[in-house]
């Protein structure tokens, strides 16, 4: 009996040993369900970048990276289950890829001391690191996105959009409602008329909303959609002959999936983005050589260079860079979640480093700090070229209106702190 127990214990130790020598990145992905078409390329990009680091560089700081995928189906309940089932595996940072899941995980990750990165989604006011110690949403959040869309309207209207009519078509969920407050403030500041049109999940039927748009004839339509809502909205806009160049989506409404079903008629549709588009970056050559050609790609290898693949890859790159920083700060190659959090808070991305990584000009240069977990909030506008079947950047990366956004972040985060009895950290 003793011998059996000893054998069991030894086996357990041996099984656990290799797991210790890994950097674990849970990926709460959704490869099934109504949002799978968006979830798959993001998850592929996220996984492929770590595979590249393992295959080309032998890991990060000599330690192999391991992506732990857990299928959420974009369901908040399943997302929380995934978190609970993976957090004990040495998880370094969570990427929930869902605003609903993010909201549920904020108190959990804070209690468990694990960082969470919600890049371009989640709770916007988490940018206030004094209140949200374990949540990061660099390099841009929804409110930056709203401001960047309005900045674009200012640009194309010579800086004056007073009296213009802007309609927001939004997913009737926590995600879709995020930009409303910011847009209302921006409407006051710039004097445009804002109208709100909610679309219920999943958004397969939007006739009422687009008849209203046809009646009211807004000058511009902004969209906060995801999944089928995007494709239907673009088709309905085409149907009512709304000018595509006056239709601007947030970055979650700006992938190839969203425009391809409408065919050539989607030409000219625009979207805000916080990273570059296409596959004309050296890192993709390495992905092809070390990941796809060796049969180690997470997917079929046919998503490389698409908007959502690039976003997943960018998220992985930021996680890997934060890991390097954490290794540097802690002096250990095998870091803990607490080290990772410190690494994320000290993360600095420079153009020089981006070039070294084979991603020159792919995303902004920025520095995260104790107080600012939200990054620079910069972005650009991309436009769909239906003939070439590709997105093109039509503006430079520019700043969002932090004069409007920062007070909103402070107000919302402080209200959260009060509700949850959180004493803001002293970041001085």
């Amino acid at each position: 009996m003793k011998l059996k127990l000893a054998t069991l214990a030894l086996s357990a130790l041996m099984a656990a040993a290799p797991a210790m020598a890994e950097l674990v990145y849970p990926s709460l992905s959704y490869r099934t369900g109504p949002y799978a078409a968006g979830g798959i390329p993001f998850a592929d990009g996220y996984a492929d970048y770590f595979t590249l680091l393992n295959e080309r560089d032998g890991g990060i700081g000599g330690v192999k990276a391991k992506v732990l995928e857990c299928e959420t189906g974009y369901s908040t309940e399943k997302g929380v289950e995934c978190y609970e089932s993976t957090k004990g595996e040495g998880a370094l940072v969570y990427q929930p890829l869902s605003t609903g899941i993010t909201y549920q995980l904020i108190p959990k990750v804070t209690a468990d001391g694990i960082p969470m990165h919600t890049m371009g989604y989640g709770r916007t006011s988490a940018a206030n690191g004094k209140v949200f110690s374990n949540v990061f949403n660099y390099p841009a959040n929804y409110w930056n996105g709203a401001s960047l869309a309005i900045n674009h309207l200012l640009d194309i209207n010579g800086g004056d959009i007073k009296g213009k009519k802007v309609a927001l078509v939004y997913h009737n969920s926590a995600y879709g409602k995020e930009p409303i407050r910011t847009l209302e403030e921006l409407a006051k500041k710039h004097g445009f008329e804002l109208s709100l049109l909610a679309v219920d999940h999943p958004g397969q039927e939007q006739k009422s909303q687009w008849l209203q748009i046809r009646r009211e004839k807004p000058d511009y339509v902004l969209m906060w959609g995801w999944g089928v809502m995007n494709q239907v909205a673009i088709q309905e806009a085409v149907n009512i002959r709304f000018p595509m160049e006056n239709f601007i989506g947030i970055w979650w409404s700006g992938s190839e999936n969203d425009v391809l079903p409408a065919g050539d008629a989607a030409n000219g549709y625009k979207a805000v983005t916080f990273h570059n588009v296409g596959n004309d970056f050296p890192v993709f050559d390495d992905i092809q050589k070390y990941v796809v050609d060796t049969g180690k790609a997470a997917g079929a290898g046919d998503q490389i260079g698409t908007v959502l693949y690039n976003r997943g890859l960018y998220a992985a790159m930021l996680a890997a860079e934060a890991t390097r920083k954490a290794q540097e700060l802690s002096g250990n190659a095998q870091i803990t979640a607490a080290d990772m959090r410190n690494g994320m808070e000290a993360l600095e991305i420079t153009e020089e480093r981006m070039t070294e990584l084979g991603m020159p000009g792919f995303g902004p240069s920025f520095k995260v700090s104790c107080a600012n977990h939200g990054g620079p909030g910069t972005g650009a506008i991309q436009q769909w070229d239906a003939a070439a079947k590709e997105w093109k950047l039509i503006s430079d990366f520019g700043p969002s209106d932090m004069e409007v956004i920062q007070p909103l972040i402070d107000e919302d985060s402080m209200a959260y702190a009060k509700e949850n009895n959180i004493t803001p950290r002293d970041c001085n």
Partner: protein, 332 residues
Amino acid sequence: MSAEFYYGVEVFLNGLMAGVMYSLVALGFVLIFKASGIFNYAQGVMALFAAMTLVGLQTGQVPFSHLINATFGVHITHFGWELPALVAIFLTVLVMILFAFLVERLVLKHLVNQEPIILFMATIGLAYFMEGFGDLMWGSDIKKLDVGIPQGGNVWVENHTAFLGGDDFYGFYLDTLDIIAALVAIVLVTVLVLFSQYTKTGRALRAVADDHQAALSVGISLRTIWVIVWSIAGFVALVAGIMWGSKSGVQFSLSLIALKALPVLMLGGFTSIPGAIVGGLIIGVGEKMFDFLIGSPYLGGATENWFAYVLALLFLVFRPQGLFGEKIIERV
């Protein structure tokens, strides 16, 4: 009359059109329920699977290509040919007949004379299986569906009605795709009603619905009837898949159109083909007019999903069997 009045009429007309689209989905449910007493939870997934198969065949996509590539280390995605839409539709109908045959052989055959709830549970399992199987076979990417049906606001209708409401009225907006869907639905319902009422097979379908054992005792082959009815439901699912898929592309969400059919069924009755149409029209008009008159101006919009159920429930208070459903009296 003011422009606002005519915009109200426009919303009413679009409600009718939306109702027809809901009816197309509801029809599939009615057919199977009418003939076998099964509430087919998989009807939405059947629409998705049929549409995926249609696009796959039309574009010459290799089925299970991801699986083949991953297993054998090759990289094949397409055969290199494209099929005309009509040929692809015909082949898809054959696939749906094969599907019906397999459902009967592998699922229903083993559940003859079981409680309706058992059969319902079996269709839930079938739905989940089909979701995964469809993705495995054709991939989960969003596919453009183009069988040549035009869509977009009908310019002729717009131009010929623009004079009605003054300068602020732009003419009635009616989507050409919706108009075609309405015509298709009329033909489909007429054929189905005639088939159900006046053919020997149609009468056999109804006999099976009334009582499995009694139907068997008079020589009706339950298995053949089930194959026939699931084949017809598969065809209806294909039509619904084409109409809805043309708007949104073919993707998983197509299976969720079943949600739009439930209030239609509650209202129209689970056993009436005309009920599915009338129910669809009432739901379509009701939800659109409510959103136009009350939802958007006073409640922040997005009222259509829940209002459809409220409307159906209101009807149920007065007619629990639905407008056209059969009133079932059971002696205890």
